[in-house]
C-alpha cells in the first residue's frame, strides 16, 4: 500500500505553488523508498509547463488536462481523484484553503483515513502512520496515529517541510487525461473577487506595530496607533481584529490577509498562529509582547517581552517620545 504515494500539486498561471516541493519532502519522510507521483490537474498550455517543472522533482507526473479543470473546483477535482487513484493510496495535499475544501470529503469518497494539518512525520510501521500536529492555535502539540490500511488523505501544513535537498530527477510525465471522469458539478465556480484595498498599504511598510486579540477592546487600539506614530511605523493586525470590524481587512497580516516584509515587526498580544505567521516574509526582526510566556509567537520571535500590552505599549510610547 504505502509504496503508492501521490502528491496533489497546486498551481496558478503555469507556476507550481511552493507547497509542490514541500509535499515531496513530506512524502520522503513518510516512506523514503516510495515512488511518489505528482498529480497536476488543469487545462491548456500552462499545464504542460507545471508538469515539466514537477518532473524535475517527482519520478512520475500524472497530467490531467480537461477544460472542466481550468479552475480548481474542489468538487470536480474530488470526483476526479476518487475515480483515478488506486485502492488504498496515500495522497498528500497542502493544508491551504483548497486542501481544506478538498480533502475531508475526498477521504470519505476513498474510504481512507484523513490526517489534517501535519507538521511533522514520526514514522510508518505496518499500517500505522504516526505524525505530529498542533491544537489550540499551536499552543500544544500531539502525536496522532492513523490506520492507513485502506489509504490516507494527508493534509500537510505549508511552509514546514522545506525542500533544501531534493535530488533532481528526470521524471516521466504520463498523460492520464483520458482516464478521468468529469461529472456535473452541484457547485459551480463563478468568479474570484479580489480583496479590497485599504487606506494604508502595509505590504510596503518597513516597521509594523501589529496588534492581536490581546488588545481586548476597540477603544484600546489607540495605544497601538500612538506607539506607531512615535516609532514612525504603520499599524497592522491579526485576523480577530478584522473579524470584529475594528480594523480594515487590508491591515490583516496572514494567509488570508496581506503578506508583509517589514524590517521590524512588533507583535503585541498576538499568539502566533501559523496562518498569521504565513503572512510574514523576508525574515524581519520580530519583537513579541505577550502576557503568556508559552505563546507560540515566542518560538519565532527574536526578542520577547512578558508584559500586559495595555500597560506596556503606552510606557514604551512615552519613552520613545522622550528621546
Amino acid at each position: 500500500m504505502t509504496d503508492q504515494i501521490f502528491a496533489y500539486i497546486t498551481h496558478k498561471n503555469g507556476v507550481a505553488d511552493d507547497s509542490a516541493l514541500e509535499l515531496s519532502v513530506a512524502a520522503g519522510k513518510i516512506n523514503a523508498d516510495a515512488a511518489v507521483t505528482a498529480i497536476v490537474a488543469g487545462a491548456g498550455d500552462s499545464l504542460s509547463a507545471v508538469c515539466d517543472e514537477m518532473a524535475k522533482a517527482y519520478p512520475t507526473v500524472w497530467k490531467l488536462d480537461n477544460d472542466a479543470l481550468a479552475y480548481p473546483n474542489a468538487e470536480v477535482i474530488r470526483n476526479v481523484l476518487a475515480s483515478i487513484l488506486p485502492d488504498n493510496a496515500m495522497v498528500l495535499v497542502p493544508h491551504d484553503t483548497f486542501g481544506m475544501d478538498l480533502s475531508p470529503g475526498l477521504s470519505v469518497k476513498m474510504n481512507a483515513a484523513f490526517i489534517s494539518d501535519v507538521v511533522d512525520v514520526e514514522g510508518l510501521s505496518d499500517n500505522t502512520l504516526t505524525i505530529v500536529r498542533q491544537e489550540y492555535g499551536g499552543q500544544v502539540s500531539t502525536h496522532v496515529a492513523a490506520d492507513i490500511s485502506s489509504g490516507a488523505v494527508i493534509n500537510v501544513r505549508p511552509g514546514v517541510f522545506q525542500p533544501d535537498d531534493i535530488a533532481a530527477v528526470s521524471g516521466e510525465v504520463v498523460d492520464k487525461s483520458d482516464d478521468i471522469e468529469i461529472t456535473d458539478a452541484k457547485r459551480r465556480f463563478l468568479e474570484t473577487v479580489e480583496a479590497e484595498v485599504g487606506d494604508v498599504d502595509i505590504t510596503k511598510s518597513d516597521v509594523l506595530v501589529s496588534v492581536g486579540r490581546g488588545i481586548e477592546d476597540e477603544d484600546n487600539l489607540e495605544i497601538a496607533f500612538d506607539l506607531a506614530k512615535a516609532m514612525g511605523a504603520d499599524v497592522s493586525c491579526s485576523r480577530p481584529i478584522v473579524d470584529a470590524k475594528w480594523m480594515e481587512k487590508s491591515r490583516q497580516v496572514g494567509t488570508s490577509g496581506q503578506t508583509v516584509k517589514p524590517k521590524v515587526y512588533l507583535a503585541a498580544g498576538i499568539s502566533g498562529s501559523f496562518q498569521h505567521l504565513g503572512g510574514l516574509k523576508g525574515n524581519p526582526f520580530i519583537i513579541a509582547i505577550n502576557k503568556n510566556t508559552k505563546a507560540p509567537i515566542f518560538q519565532v520571535a527574536d526578542v520577547g517581552i512578558e508584559a500586559d500590552i495595555l500597560d506596556f505599549l503606552p510606557e514604551l510610547t512615552e519613552a520613545i517620545e522622550e528621546l
Binding site: T97, M100, V140, T142, A146, T192, V193, K249, G304, L323
Partner: protein, 263 residues
C-alpha cells in the same frame, strides 16, 4: 428554509492558556472556561439572519455530553428555534469521521435545506463539515464568508481564499457549508436571554435513537487517534528581555534603533 447548524463546546482560547497536564494524556482541564467554538457562533448568527430574511427555522445540534447543553441554550438564546443533543457513551473518543457519521444520522431524520458547521474548532482539523457533506452526498463549500439565497434550489456562496480574495460559486440545495469567522457580527447574548430559554426542552438522541452502529463511531471506530499531548522543544526561541519595565524599555529602544525600528 430549514437550517441545521452543527456546533461544539470547546475550551475558550481567549480565556485560557492551554497547557499539557502532568502525564501528557490531556490538556490541563482544571479551571478551564468553555464556550461555543468561535467559528460555530458565526455559523449560527448567519443561520438566524437567513431565517429572518427568507423564513424557516434554525436548529442547533451538537455531539457532546450533558455539559454541552449550555452551548445549545446559548445559541437558542441568540435566536435558534430548537436544539438537539447527540450523546451516548458509545460516541466517546470518536474521530472526525465518527462525529460526521453521528451528525449524518441526525440529518437523515430531518428535512434540511442548508447545513452549516464552523470551518474548524480547537483541534484545527477542519474536517467535519466536508466529511458530513460527502457522507450525505451533498455539495460542500468550506471557509464560507458570504451567503446569498438565490431561490429555493440554489444559493451563491463566497469562500475566503488566500490573500482574502473571495471565490464565488453557485451551489445547489441542499448543501453543507463550513463558515469562516468574520462573515457577520454575532449578536451578544446576556444572562437574561439565556434565562428565557432555560426551560425549553432539548431532546437527547443516542446511538439507538439514531440507528448508528456503535462499532463505526467512538474510540473503537476511530482510525485516527490522538496518542498524547506535548510541548515540542523547538530550540532557543526568543531572547526574553528581563528586568523592570524601565530596563526592558531601554533595552528594547536600543534594539529598535539598531534594527531600523525607529524613524
Amino acid at each position: 428554509m430549514e437550517i441545521l447548524v452543527c456546533v461544539t463546546r470547546v475550551p475558550d482560547t481567549a480565556e485560557n492558556e492551554i497547557e499539557v497536564n502532568s502525564d501528557g494524556t490531556d490538556i490541563g482541564r482544571d479551571d478551564l472556561v468553555y464556550s461555543v467554538n468561535e467559528w460555530d457562533n458565526y455559523a449560527v448568527e448567519e443561520a438566524i439572519q437567513i431565517r429572518d430574511r427568507v423564513g424557516g427555522s434554525v436548529t442547533v445540534v451538537t455531539v457532546g455530553d450533558d455539559e454541552s447543553e449550555e452551548i445549545l441554550r446559548r445559541e437558542m438564546a441568540m435566536g435558534a428555534d430548537s436544539g438537539i443533543l447527540l450523546a451516548d457513551g458509545a460516541f466517546d473518543g470518536s474521530d472526525g469521521l465518527g462525529i460526521a457519521r453521528i451528525l449524518k444520522a441526525e440529518v437523515d431524520k430531518g428535512n434540511y435545506d442548508l447545513i452549516l458547521t464552523g470551518a474548524q474548532s480547537e483541534g484545527g482539523t477542519a474536517e467535519v463539515g466536508g466529511m458530513l457533506a460527502a457522507l450525505l452526498d451533498l455539495p460542500f463549500a468550506s471557509l464560507v464568508n458570504q451567503i446569498e439565497i438565490v431561490d429555493e434550489k440554489k444559493i451563491k456562496v463566497g469562500r475566503e481564499i488566500e490573500g482574502g480574495n473571495i471565490e464565488v460559486s453557485e451551489i445547489d440545495l441542499p448543501c453543507v457549508l463550513s463558515v469562516q469567522t468574520g462573515i457577520n457580527e454575532p449578536r451578544y447574548v446576556g444572562i437574561r436571554g439565556i434565562r428565557k430559554v432555560a426551560s425549553l426542552d432539548i431532546p437527547t438522541h443516542g446511538a439507538a435513537d439514531l440507528g448508528v452502529d456503535p462499532a463505526t463511531v467512538g474510540a473503537d471506530g476511530a482510525r485516527v487517534k490522538r496518542m498524547d499531548y506535548f510541548i515540542p522543544d523547538l530550540g532557543e526561541g526568543a531572547e526574553m528581555l528581563e528586568g523592570d519595565t524601565e530596563e526592558i524599555i531601554s533595552k528594547l529602544i536600543e534594539l529598535l534603533k539598531a534594527k531600523g525600528g525607529l524613524k
